[in-house]
Structure formats: C-alpha cells, structure tokens
Symmetry: C2
Subunit: 163 residues, 2 copies
DNA sequence: ATGAGTGCAAAGGCTTTGCATTAGG
DNA sequence: CCTAATGCAAAGCCTTTGCACTCAT
C-alpha cells in the first residue's frame, strides 16, 4: 500500500550496513528483515517474535538494537505502550503513520508531495533557531480506526463512567 | 516561545473536565497542572516529581493518568525511553516538537500557518480511505541538538566501535 | 580453534496496583 | 460518615544483560 521504492535489494543493504559496524548478517537478523520488509505497519516485538518462527525475545531485542545501530531499522513510537519497529526510511520509502488513538493500531500512508516539500524545506531555519540541526520529520495522523469508531457507538449509551 | 493561547483559565477547565468524569480537582492534581502549565517542553515523570515538591511517583502516575482521561493532559512520545506529559492541545495551544535523536530532548515549536492548514485540511480524505476518522496530527521534527552535535564532533575521531 | 551469534533465565527500570490512612463533601 | 485521594510498598511488564552453548570463519 505505501511506496515500496526499493531501488536496491534490502538484504544487500542490510548486509553492507552491518559490515560497516563490524556485524554479520546472520540468519536471525535476516529473518527479522524479511518480516519487517513485508509488514505494512510497524511491528511490536511480540508480532515480530510470532512472525519469525518464535525467535526468542532476547534475540529479537538484541538484533533489532544492532540493526538499529546499523541504520537498517528504526524504532517507531506509537501510543507509548511498547516499542514498534520498521525498516529505515531509505529502505522502506518515506511515509507516515495513521495512529488510532483508542487501540494504538498503526498503518502506513503516503503523503502528498506538496506537503512533504513544505515540511522539509520550511523547517530547517525554524529549528536552527533552537540550536537544532534538522534531520527529518515524523508526521503522525491521529484518528480513530473504523473498528474503534464502531465499538464507541455501541457503548455510547451505557457508558458514563471512567474509561 | 510557543503560543500560549490560553483563552480561559487552565485550572478552571481542568476542574470542569475532572468533574465531567466524576473526579475532583485535588491539590495534588492542581500541582501537576501548575507544573505542566509552566513547562516549555514535555516533562517526564522524574521532572514532574521533582518540580512538585516530590510528589510520590505513584501519585504522579495515577493522577497523570486521570488527567489524561479527563482530557487535560496528553502523553507525549519522545524517543521511547520513558513517557513525557504536557497539557492538552486546547489548553497549551497547538504546537509541535523538535526531538533530539541522540539525547531525546524535546522542545516546543510553532509551525507556519500554511503548513498547519495543509495538514489539517488535506489529510482527512486520505486517511478516510483506510477507515480512519482524522482527529488531529502530530508533527515531530527530528534533529540533533547543539549539545549532541558538539559531543559528536568531539568523539568522532576516537570512536569507531559500537555505540 | 576463536570470536560472533544464540537462547535461556535472571536482572533491571519504568509503570501500575493493593491496601491502609487521610482528607474532603 | 462515606467516598475519593494519597502514599508506601509490592507486583507487573517490557526490555536488557549474563553466561554457557553453537555456529561460522
């Protein structure tokens, strides 16, 4: 659904970047990349673990961390519960997220070129005033997914209490 | 620095919204709001605890959670380490964050009207295709703060190992 | 053989919860 | 008085780390 602008092979790039920091592209790491490459939304560790033939949590975390250092994957921040991961921007293609404020579900979306351009062009000087060097941006669209909208309607007459 | 567009008294609004969910505007909660109202960046719990005459962690978390339910404060996502909090958008004024990708420091910034307009207007139909109802957006500018830029230069010749 | 990678289990850190006490309506 | 709010301590949960084993070079 989102832009799969993969000019070069993901595995090739992963291997190169790991080598650059003296790490191997081991089978476990390859499995992680395979799973992330197929995902249409950022994955939390349990999803990853489940999708990778139950790779142990420790390996998931450890390798994700190394892949992150290598610049192959990035940690995505959703609703604060737990960390989610996806391929780095240059491997996955620049895109943004739509986050459900109720259930935390995240999906990928592309954003019109016009807006992207404004974001990247107009902001550098703005943040420079604060002493920051602009490296990128993260635009999350916040809303309610169809499922949560529906269950909200259902319970709207019975619920007046907390949460 | 950022827009303090507080039309009405923060405490008044906080009190109302708490009442709406059958909660009181207790002194502890008032202290939290006072601290958050003065902050120029989202605060993590330790900062809050320190700033509120050492309100115990459990009270900080519990009341923050209740204030969040009441719609008075929101949880901010930084670099994943720990949760930070700030006043809800309508109390603090719409703004965005600049996040340092190295140390996680967050500061508030305002964004040109033109971009804000594009974000809010142009996106509804886009996310509607995915079954989402757009309620807002979160634009974080990612970069490196002056401090981290500096320490990065300093160690650039000695460091070739991992992290 | 030697060092990297793996996996299990234990430890760690932030956050949440139970329960008795205190305060407000 | 009765319920909400507080504080301390204990429990939980995600994540990280230690250590021995296995695999690749």
């Amino acid at each position: 659904m989102s832009g799969n602008h993969q000019r070069t092979d993901v595995h090739e790039v992963a291997s190169e970047r790991l080598n650059a920091i003296d790490q191997r592209y081991s089978p476990g790491r390859r499995r992680l990349i395979e799973v992330l490459a197929q995902a249409t939304h950022p994955l939390v560790t349990t999803e990853i673990s489940a999708a990778t033939d139950d790779l142990p949590q420790s390996s998931v975390y450890r390798n994700l961390s190394i892949l992150e250092e290598a610049g192959v994957v990035v940690k995505v921040l959703t609703t604060g519960e737990r960390a989610a991961f996806e391929l780095a921007e240059d491997l996955k293609g620049h895109h943004h997220h739509v986050v459900c404020i109720d259930c935390g579900r995240v999906i990928d979306v592309d954003v019109p070129e016009q807006i992207e351009k404004l974001l990247s062009d107009g902001m550098s000087t703005l943040v420079a005033k604060e002493g920051f060097t602009l490296l990128g941006h993260r635009l999350d669209l916040l809303g309610r997914c169809d499922q949560c909208s529906r269950s909200r309607r259902d319970e709207s007459f019975s619920t007046s209490s907390v949460k």
